[in-house]
């Protein structure tokens, strides 16, 4: 199609109107481990597979779900190191907001600023786009919210979404299972069942990660034993 001739430079449009590097970044995301999020009526849950390259890796040292502020958490699909950079920048932006206004940053504002950073890396010289899509879960005065941010810098608010490998099956499963009145515990069970759908091997508290935020507005990542409890309930 001639697109490949334009894939060398990030900041050049191809004749078909695409920025090819962003398409490739989305492919990198699409081959990353599955992650998903569900917005319930009284909270949000995000979850991801945590497949480690070898059984010798100390799984307690790996944490994919991160806290951005006490009431906002994030999970990614794609390149882990890229997500660390974004988490660091987002945390700093949230603290800058607090320093200025002495008020916790609203979820939409933080998502917008993170998306702006990601967009900057699609329009600057000498840089490449981030190879991650983020799922941001937060609870503020507007209630529970779930946002997805893509390498292009576009962001969407979702009731439930999935990213990474197996995304189409996961989304179909979520579409069937999702209800508006779902409560947080049901959402966690649905998240676990969705992960199980495409899971290779035996699912356990050690190879998935779950983060949730409820009415208390405190985001927490569940410990492996807490995840095991939910897994047993979901059986």
């Amino acid at each position: 199609m001639g697109d490949s001739q334009y894939s060398f430079s990030l900041t050049t449009f191809s004749p078909s109107g695409k920025l090819v590097q962003i398409e490739h970044a989305l492919t990198a995301v699409g081959s990353g481990q599955t992650s998903l999020g569900i917005k319930a009526s009284n909270g949000v849950v995000i979850a991801t597979e945590k497949k480690l390259p070898s059984i010798l890796v100390d799984e307690a040292s790996v944490q994919k779900i991160q806290t951005l502020t006490p009431n906002i958490g994030v999970v990614y699909s794609g390149m882990g190191p890229d997500s660390r950079v974004l988490v660091r920048k987002s945390r700093k932006q949230a603290e800058q907001y607090y320093r200025l206004y002495k008020e916790p940053i609203p979820v939409t504002q933080l998502v917008r600023e993170t998306a702006t950073v990601m967009q900057e890396f699609t329009q600057s010289g000498g840089v490449r786009p981030f190879g991650v899509s983020l799922l941001v879960a937060g609870y503020d005065d507007k209630g529970p919210q779930l946002y997805q941010v893509d390498p292009s810098g576009s962001y969407f608010s979702w009731k439930a979404s999935a990213m990474g490998k197996n995304v189409s099956n996961a989304k179909t499963f979520l579409e069937k299972r999702y209800t508006e009145e779902m409560e947080l515990d049901d959402a966690v069970h649905t998240a676990i069942l969705t992960l199980k759908e495409g899971f290779e091997g035996q699912i356990s508290g050690k190879n998935i990660e779950i983060g949730m935020i409820g009415n208390d507005r405190i985001f927490k990542v569940l410990s492996p034993s807490e995840v095991e409890d939910y897994l047993q309930e979901a059986e």
Binding site: L100, Y101, K102, E103, P106, T108, Q109, R112
Partner: protein, 204 residues
């Protein structure tokens, strides 16, 4: 003469029952000469948030323009009005940015916050916030205003009584200060309406 006393000003804000009042004098002077007798020192940020700026008039006007700019952008981005507490933190940050070349202003901020709870505060020219539950004062007449407010203030006054009290406190205080006066300008704000009144005092 201190730079804060170049133009002359008197500002006071008081808390009532589910309402607040903010009042200022109307004189603009250049040291001993009076230039204007209808100078505005209290500005509306939105219907439930007012800021009065005492001190050097040019800095007051510039600072007000900067704050309106920040507030408008905030409103566009966040699609909501700024709470008074948030606005006060913003003013404090803006003032401290100029720590070593400050705005020669003393702001008085008054607003209705969540659930229409009245909020008042003042700060010095480099952003040290002082929250109060009853009243705050600023300007060249501040010492007289402290005395007048302390004796006249009662907690939980209704709107009309609050208006009377703040007006009496302002007029009696500026009468003791040669750099402020020439009438008064009072805003009385309740959850449902904003009333603006001009006071006639000693025109000297």
């Amino acid at each position: 003469m201190s730079i804060f006393e170049y133009n002359g000003s008197a500002l006071v804000a008081m808390v009532g029952k589910n309402c607040f009042a903010i009042a200022s004098d109307r004189r603009l002077g250049v040291q001993l000469q009076t230039i204007a007798t209808d100078f505005q020192k209290i500005y509306r940020i939105h219907n439930k948030l007012f800021i009065g700026l005492a001190g050097l008039a040019t800095d007051a006007q510039t600072l007000y323009q900067r704050l309106v700019f920040r507030n408008k952008l905030y409103h566009l981005r966040e699609e909501r009005d700024m709470k008074p507490e948030t606005f006060a933190s913003l003013v404090s940050a803006v003032l401290y940015e100029k720590r070593f070349g400050p705005y020669f202003c003393q702001p008085v901020i008054a607003g209705l916050g969540d659930d229409d709870k009245p909020f008042i505060c003042t700060m010095d020219s480099i952003g040290a916030k002082e929250l109060a539950k009853d009243f705050v004062v600023a300007g060249t007449a501040s010492e007289s205003l402290y005395g007048a407010c302390e004796s006249m203030f009662k907690p939980d006054m209704e709107a009309e009584e609050l208006f009377e009290t703040i007006s009496q406190a302002l007029i009696s205080a500026v009468d003791r200060d040669c750099l402020s006066g020439w009438g008064g300008h009072v805003y009385l704000v309740t959850p449902t309406e904003v009333t603006e009144r001009i006071l006639k005092g000693r025109m000297d």
